[in-house]
């Protein structure tokens, strides 16, 4: 086996080493250019074009890496089937034992580019962390949360954890804000008022649906207002706007907000 492996490799002269170095350098430069240029350009346009540009980054990087790999392999080993099986089999075995998790993340990274459960610019929740995907790397992705924290999550999570994607490559995502009112009010009036609160928000994507969902609770009624902001990045501002103006409008209409905790279950009658 060892002899087969040794025979598979070509003797590396100065010229070959130079070629390998050049291919590697070119690939690194191209990857850096792609990773810098496309996000820069994406931040200067709006709407779907921004998300298309951002999503192209990991795809192009994968293409560059595969291209560089295909150029380098024939310069290092004699590309016969026997040699390839021997070399990659050994490599796979070594990676499987020594760098199992790393290799798993690398493979998951390739799957992530293909299946696209998340792309740059998407708002996702993975393992309880919610934020905007700012970088899809080879091994891990990076999220920026609403608190402006940068969180790095290995692609490996893809195998075990659900990925909740709020906008799935588009510029818009649904936001929901809750209002809790005491019982004994005109529900139709509240629903109508909340509907208008959404329709008059300057941040609303008005062509998308607005919905008011009411749910009766022991302490009163919970109203959930669902609507879409124009841009996913405005979601927190949008939710704040809906909340503040919704509250003001409900107060103007004389509604009372539920302020107490749920009522305890009645005491069982004394026997």
């Amino acid at each position: 086996m060892q002899e087969t492996l040794t025979n598979s490799f070509r003797s590396l002269g100065l010229g070959t080493l130079l070629e390998l170095g050049l291919i590697l350098a070119a690939a690194v430069v191209l990857v850096l250019v792609v990773q810098k240029t496309l996000p820069w350009l994406a931040n200067r346009v709006r709407g779907r074009r921004r998300y298309v540009l951002l999503a192209m980054v990991p795809l192009l990087r994968l293409v560059i890496i595969i291209g560089a790999f295909l150029l380098m392999v024939p310069r290092v080993i004699d590309p016969s089937v026997q040699n390839m099986v021997a070399v990659f089999g050994s490599l796979g075995l070594a990676l499987g034992f020594a760098l199992k998790d790393y290799a798993s993340s690398l493979v998951a990274g390739i799957v992530a580019v293909g299946e696209a459960p998340y792309r740059n610019g998407d708002w996702v929740e993975i393992d309880g962390v919610y934020g905007e995907v700012t970088h899809v790397g080879v091994r891990a992705l990076q999220l920026v949360t609403a608190d402006d924290n940068l969180v790095t999550i290995p692609h490996q999570k893809l195998w075990t954890d659900p990925v909740s994607n709020a906008n799935n490559g588009g510029p818009q995502l649904q936001c929901a804000v809750d209002f809790h009112l005491r019982p004994g009010h005109d529900g139709a009036l509240v629903a109508s008022a909340l509907y208008d609160v959404a329709l008059t928000s300057p941040l609303l994507a008005i062509e998308r649906a607005v919905a008011v969902v009411a749910e009766e609770q022991p302490w009163g009624t919970r109203y959930r207002l669902r609507a879409y902001p124009i841009d996913a990045r405005q979601q927190f501002r949008f939710m704040t706007d809906l909340t503040l103006r919704g509250k003001a409008e409900l107060l103007r209409l004389g509604m009372e907000f539920a302020t107490t905790s749920p009522a305890p279950d009645p005491e069982p009658p004394a026997s």
């Binding site: 350009l41 329709l199 008059t200 300057p202 008005i206 062509e207």
Partner: protein, 403 residues
């Protein structure tokens, strides 16, 4: 106007259903240049004019207000009002209310006011902002239902984008559609119309609009706007290219070519906007003081072209409106366009921004030439800033008008 024949007038002022509005197209060369400039701006470049202008801007001076008034008189809407009356008479059977929609500064409000004056129709002023928000119905209850006909030229001033600002206009539209208000005409700005379509039940009848003014229509109009005080032939020349744009003489030759077509496309067919931009570009040479022609240019054009030469400065560059992450500019511009102008204090109430931030943005936009304060106290998007503002809002995914 007096020299035109009726068939030409009819073509100039044509009221058509909104769906039939024919947006003027930008000449191909101009469109390519605009795309190139836009691309350069995207990459942070600045516009560079490599062509030497036929007349340096510094060699020219602006005209006095009286001179401008003589060369670009206010639009006489009488023919337009007659066209509207013909249209209403033709299609009025069984319909209680008709809507006339137009883009900002297109002049549809002036058209309706002229029509109201000419046919003695009751003109209704919009309610005060306080009345809109208070939820009262006094303004509606005082409607002159016994009037033969009425006109509400500014529907865009009858509502506010506020949770309490829609009830009045919904009630108004409901009463108007049901016929309880009698027969009337409602005028509305195109941006407000686009918004109200989403939040209120508009009359089912397709709204009318003034057909877009293309290059040919603008040429006809600008000839008609030259006052009777100009006894000599007038030639409007492009100061950049040196070419004649429009000649006003006995024969009325020339149709403006690509310059006026470009103006029509840039203003998206809005006649009022085109007039304002045309008026703002007028220049004259100091020594001629707009009374004598440019001899050399006139010789090139032949003996008929001798007379007064008015130079047209390069079209004003669009104000640079910060794009990208500066959402506050877009919010302010959108609110102003939806309401066709707002007083500063009302604007601040409608936006999810602190008052001082709104004031800061308004001042920045005003300094950049994108906003202008109107005599009625409202802040509006300026004629020079309209195209850039619309493009910014469209690019950012905001609701825009149909024009």
């Amino acid at each position: 106007m007096d020299t035109q024949d009726p068939s030409e007038e009819l073509q100039l002022w044509e009221l058509v259903p909104l769906d039939d509005y024919a947006l003027p197209q930008t000449p191909a060369a101009r469109a390519a240049k605009a795309r190139w400039v836009s691309l350069r701006r995207l990459f942070g470049g600045r516009r560079e004019d490599v062509d030497a202008p036929a007349k340096e801007e510094t060699d020219l001076h602006g005209l006095w207000a009286e001179q401008r008034d003589g060369l670009v008189m206010p639009i006489d809407w009488t023919d337009g009002a007659e066209a509207l009356e013909r249209r209403l008479t033709k299609a009025d059977a069984g319909q209680s209310v008709c809507c006339v929609v137009g883009p900002p500064r297109s002049g549809h409000t002036d058209l309706l006011e002229c029509w109201a004056e000419r046919w003695v129709v009751r003109c209704i002023e919009p309610p005060a902002h306080e009345d809109i928000l208070s939820g009262g119905r006094d303004w509606l209850d005082a409607w002159p239902v016994d009037a033969h006909r009425w006109v509400l030229p500014r529907l865009e001033h009858c509502w506010l984008r506020h949770p309490a600002g829609l009830a009045l206009v919904r009630e108004l539209l409901e009463r108007a559609s049901s016929g309880r208000l009698g027969r009337g005409v409602i005028g509305c700005d195109s941006w407000a119309w686009a918004y109200l379509r989403q939040v209120a039940a508009l009359p089912s009848r397709a709204p009318l609009t003034l057909q877009a003014f293309d290059g040919l229509r603008l040429a006809t109009l600008f000839r008609a706007l030259v006052g009777p005080s100009s006894t000599r032939p007038v030639c409007f020349r492009n100061a950049v290219t040196g070419k004649a744009v429009l000649s006003i003489d006995g024969e009325q030759d020339g149709n403006g070519g690509s310059d006026l077509q470009y103006l029509a496309a840039r203003t998206r067919g809005s006649v009022g906007l085109a007039r304002e931009l045309w008026r703002g570009r007028l220049r004259a040479e100091p020594h001629t003081d707009s009374d004598s022609g440019d001899a050399e240019a006139a010789k090139e054009e032949g003996p008929d072209a001798e007379g007064t030469t008015i130079w047209l400065a390069a079209p004003p560059e669009d104000p640079v409106l910060t794009s990208g992450r500066d959402d506050e500019l877009a919010l302010v511009l959108h609110a102003l366009l939806l309401h066709n102008g707002l007083p500063d204090q009302v604007l601040a109430e409608l936006l999810p921004l602190p008052r001082f931030r709104v004031q800061g943005v308004v001042e920045r936009l005003t300094a950049a030439g994108a906003l202008a304060e109107m005599p009625d106290g409202r802040r509006r998007v300026s004629a020079a800033g309209y195209a850039a503002a619309r493009e910014l809002l469209r690019a950012q995914g905001f609701l825009v008008d149909d024009f």
